[in-house]
């Protein structure tokens, strides 16, 4: 057991932090957000050059073969710097979905372009009346000649307006919330009949609501196998949820540090704020939440990396009692989902509370737009409203819970 980062990882983190401090200081952020998409094309190209966009993909698709830990490092620093970019939609959602569900030719075709910063994608999975349930898909894709006809509505499609391709989750069979029968389609956003309602989000990003009104797509628009999308989607969303936890964790530490610095300089009643015991103990609570949430991010990240090991090398379940080989994969997936939900719940609750304390600690200044504090809180709130809020994930964890215990490391 070892919680020390490799030297490469430490250098990687330093380089990310330095890059963001230099090119994305908070003082300039408000101006950057005025770009129609919330980010500049130059920034995106720089991220490509730095290798962030190719990071998680396999080397055969020109990727860097980075681990979940590597992605975590990037996301923690993004959280700290409050970076707004389409990394989530392009790399972590769409790119990973292609890598998981796509055919070999689709992977060879698309992933290298993503890594090179030449292709931006968006994933249309959420629906207006679906809550956070990924299987609740009313959008239909009906077979018709040499293609499919799509009808339905998607909401909050992050970065759809700047995407070159939108991946749409649609139902090719099964009832409204069945896991079976979901398929993925690649959509050209400029095609006729597509109706995008674009808007800005509270954390400075962009999203769109999309109406699919009798849209015809040729067979080749299908990504991967028909009706088999759910397990891929769930897995990719679980990975992306952990990435958002890492981003939240980066924001939490920043709030903790900035509050501590404020406590040491701000005077009231002739004393530093930090000398008031009630505030001391509350900052200690914040600090403990940062530590505890960080731990569950690591726990989920390592579970994802273990799951990614080639078949046969996976010894994650070594100590689990009474699990037969045949159901090992399913049990493993369930264990990973449980760790993801544990992190998303715990980090969500703690980040919310840390964000609120951060504002309170700063008093009137905490409400001001020229300090990062409030912007961290907005981002944390939006992270909680993505892929399931803490309540949703506590329920998911609870439903997965009744396993034999004492078997985990």
């Amino acid at each position: 057991m070892n919680f020390t980062f490799s030297e490469e990882q430490n250098l990687f983190r330093d380089s990310i932090r330095r890059y963001l401090e230099e090119t994305y200081p908070f003082e300039n952020r408000a101006k950057t957000l005025q770009h129609p998409n919330g980010y500049s094309e130059e920034l995106w190209q720089s991220l490509a050059e730095l290798g962030w966009l190719a990071l998680p993909f396999a080397e055969e698709y020109d990727g860097l073969g980075g681990s979940a830990i590597d992605s975590m490092i990037v996301m923690e620093e993004i959280g700290r710097a409050l970076l707004v970019s389409p990394i989530l939609s392009t790399v972590l959602l769409s790119g990973q979905l292609i890598a998981n569900a796509g055919t070999e030719s689709q992977k060879y075709d698309l992933i290298p372009q993503i890594g090179a910063g030449k292709l931006k994608l968006a994933l249309a999975f959420a629906e207006p009346d679906a809550g956070y349930d990924l299987a609740q898909v009313a959008t239909s894709a009906t077979k018709e000649g040499n293609g499919y006809r799509l009808n339905g509505a998607k909401c909050v499609v992050f970065n759809a307006q700047s995407a070159d391709i939108i991946i749409v989750v649609a139902r090719t069979s099964g009832h409204a919330n069945a896991q079976e029968g979901l398929s993925l389609f690649l959509l050209d956003p400029t095609m006729d009949g597509l109706n995008l309602k674009n808007y800005r989000t509270h954390d400075g990003g962009c999203a769109s609501d999309i109406i699919l009104d009798d849209l015809f797509l040729p067979d080749k628009a299908l990504l991967g196998d028909i009706g088999m999308a759910y397990p891929h989607l769930q897995r990719v969303v679980d990975q992306a949820a952990v990435a958002l936890c890492a981003e939240a964790s980066g924001a939490m530490w920043a709030i903790c540090e900035q509050s501590g610095a404020y406590f040491k300089t701000r005077e009231q009643f002739g004393q530093n704020l930090g000398s008031f015991q009630a505030l001391q103990h509350r900052l200690v609570d914040v600090y403990m939440k940062c530590q505890l949430s960080q731990s569950l991010v690591y726990d989920a990240v390592c579970a994802l990396d273990d799951q990614d090991l080639p078949k046969g090398q996976n010894d994650f379940l070594k100590n689990a009692d009474g699990v037969t080989k045949t159901c090992a994969n399913k049990t493993l997936a369930q264990k990973v989902s449980q760790k993801v939900s544990a992190a998303k719940y715990h980090v969500g609750m703690d980040a919310r509370s840390v964000g609120q304390e951060g504002i309170q600690f700063h008093g009137g200044m905490g409400m001001m737009t020229e300090l990062p504090i409030g912007h961290y809180y907005k981002r944390i709130t939006m992270i909680n409203a993505t892929f399931g809020d803490p309540r949703y994930h506590l329920k998911r964890y609870r439903d997965l819970m009744y396993q034999p215990i004492n078997s985990a490391a």
Binding site: G131, Y199, D209, I211, Q268, L279, A385, T386
Partner: protein
């Protein structure tokens, strides 16, 4: 002990309700139902004028100054019904804060000069208390007023700044605390002055909240002249006036009426948000939170009633009132946060209407307003004496620690 209002009180309540239903313009009602705390000047004045015509513009004032001469119960029911019907709260700075100070400490001339404009709502006020380095520690304020004399008479010359000044950008006048002597204890040497916001040397610099609204300002004073006639009370003894005023400010800070209205909207929202084939009502985990908030609010409501209608009545309420501010703001924040959570993915959008047909229909309140209110109301545990300050007041004054 009796927790019901008598028939006369109920009659009064019905009258207020009817009045608001008949007289509150829809555009103003909409703003309030969207949890906007600070309305445009025109709206404030339009609603105040309707109340004024009814004789309810400044009901809490003594009758001889234009007050309504109501009982505690009537005051309570009036404020409650106003809030439940989504009408704006009384304009705070002139009506609720300055006027009682003028009546208690002001000269006859000051009362005659300033009260009528407040009563009719023609003149709006703002409060100049906080400074960049005097927040919770109000008495450490530094903005300086120096007495000077020239051809036009005795006046103070003000230099420095005030910050987090709500409404400074819509106000005609400011009342505030200024440093006239730095030699003694910090509570000494403070003077209470009234300043015409159109005076030469006054600059108003808007401050933007992190959620994007403009409610507060920094106000800079560069050799601003204030006639000595605009001083309330004695020079260097403004802290006493301020303490009197801050005592008034504690009343109503529980904001139970507003929270009841917000909770009603939250409950409607839960019915409206569809999840799969059902609605949020089917989500027992979420409904636990709504139930918890409703119970907490009821506990606060009865506590406020106990303080107002207990032995000795509202006059006997002391530092206990600080707990109404603490819990009132916590519950407000809780309700608005739950509303934002109820939106699910729709919580992201910074627009007023979701575009799709089948999309969630927010009945009375738009997602954008919910999110904005959630973020904006984080200020309530900070302003008007932070909740930490209130707890310290209770610890000392009630618990004797």
């Amino acid at each position: 002990m009796d927790m019901k209002f008598n028939a006369q009180a109920e009659e009064f309540r019905a009258k207020v309700r009817l009045f608001v239903q008949d007289n509150l313009p829809d555009d103003i009602r909409m703003k309030v139902s969207e949890e906007e705390m600070i309305l445009p000047r025109e709206m404030m004045q339009r609603w105040h004028h309707a109340l004024y015509k009814q004789g309810w513009g400044c009901p809490s004032w003594p009758k001889e100054h234009g007050g309504a001469g109501w009982s505690d119960e009537q005051h309570y029911l009036f404020e409650r019904e106003i809030a439940l019907c989504d009408a704006p709260r009384p304009i705070p700075y002139g009506v609720v804060m300055l006027a009682p100070c003028l009546i208690e400490y002001g000269s006859k001339a000051q009362q005659e000069k300033f009260l009528p404009g407040i009563l009719t709502g023609e003149q709006l006020w703002c409060q100049g208390f906080s400074e960049p380095n005097a927040g919770s520690d109000l008495a450490s304020l530094k903005c300086k007023a120096e007495l000077a004399t020239d051809d036009s008479g005795d006046h103070y010359v003000i230099n420095g700044s005030k910050t987090w000044t709500s409404d400074a950008h819509v106000a005609d006048w400011m009342f505030g605390l200024f440093r006239t002597d730095s030699s003694g204890r910090k509570q000494q040497g403070i003077t209470f002055l009234m300043i015409d916001m159109k005076s030469e040397g006054v600059t108003i610099s808007p401050l933007e909240n992190y959620e994007g609204t403009h409610e507060v300002n920094q106000v800079f004073f560069d050799n601003v002249r204030v006639p000595v006639d605009n001083r309330v009370g004695i020079e260097n003894e403004g802290w006493g006036v301020a303490k009197y005023l801050l005592g008034l400010e504690r009343f109503g800070t529980a904001e139970v009426g507003r929270s009841l209205a917000s909770l009603g909207r939250l409950k409607t929202l839960a019915q409206t948000v569809s999840v799969g084939s059902g609605s949020l009502l089917d989500d027992s985990d979420f409904m636990n939170e709504v139930a918890r908030a409703e119970i907490a609010l009821r506990a606060l409501e009865v506590t406020e009633q106990r303080f107002l209608f207990g032995p000795g009545g509202s006059q006997s309420m002391g530092a206990e009132a600080s707990m109404l501010k603490v819990r009132g703001t916590e519950i407000q924040q809780d309700i608005l946060e739950l509303a934002h959570q109820a939106l699910g993915y729709h919580a992201h959008a910074q627009i007023d209407v979701i575009s799709t047909e089948s999309a969630y229909n927010p009945a009375a309140i738009a997602p954008k307003a919910i999110a904005k209110a959630h973020y904006n109301f984080r200020k309530t545990s900070i302003y008007a004496g932070s909740n930490e300050i209130q707890k310290t007041i209770i610890a000392k004054a009630v618990l004797g620690l």
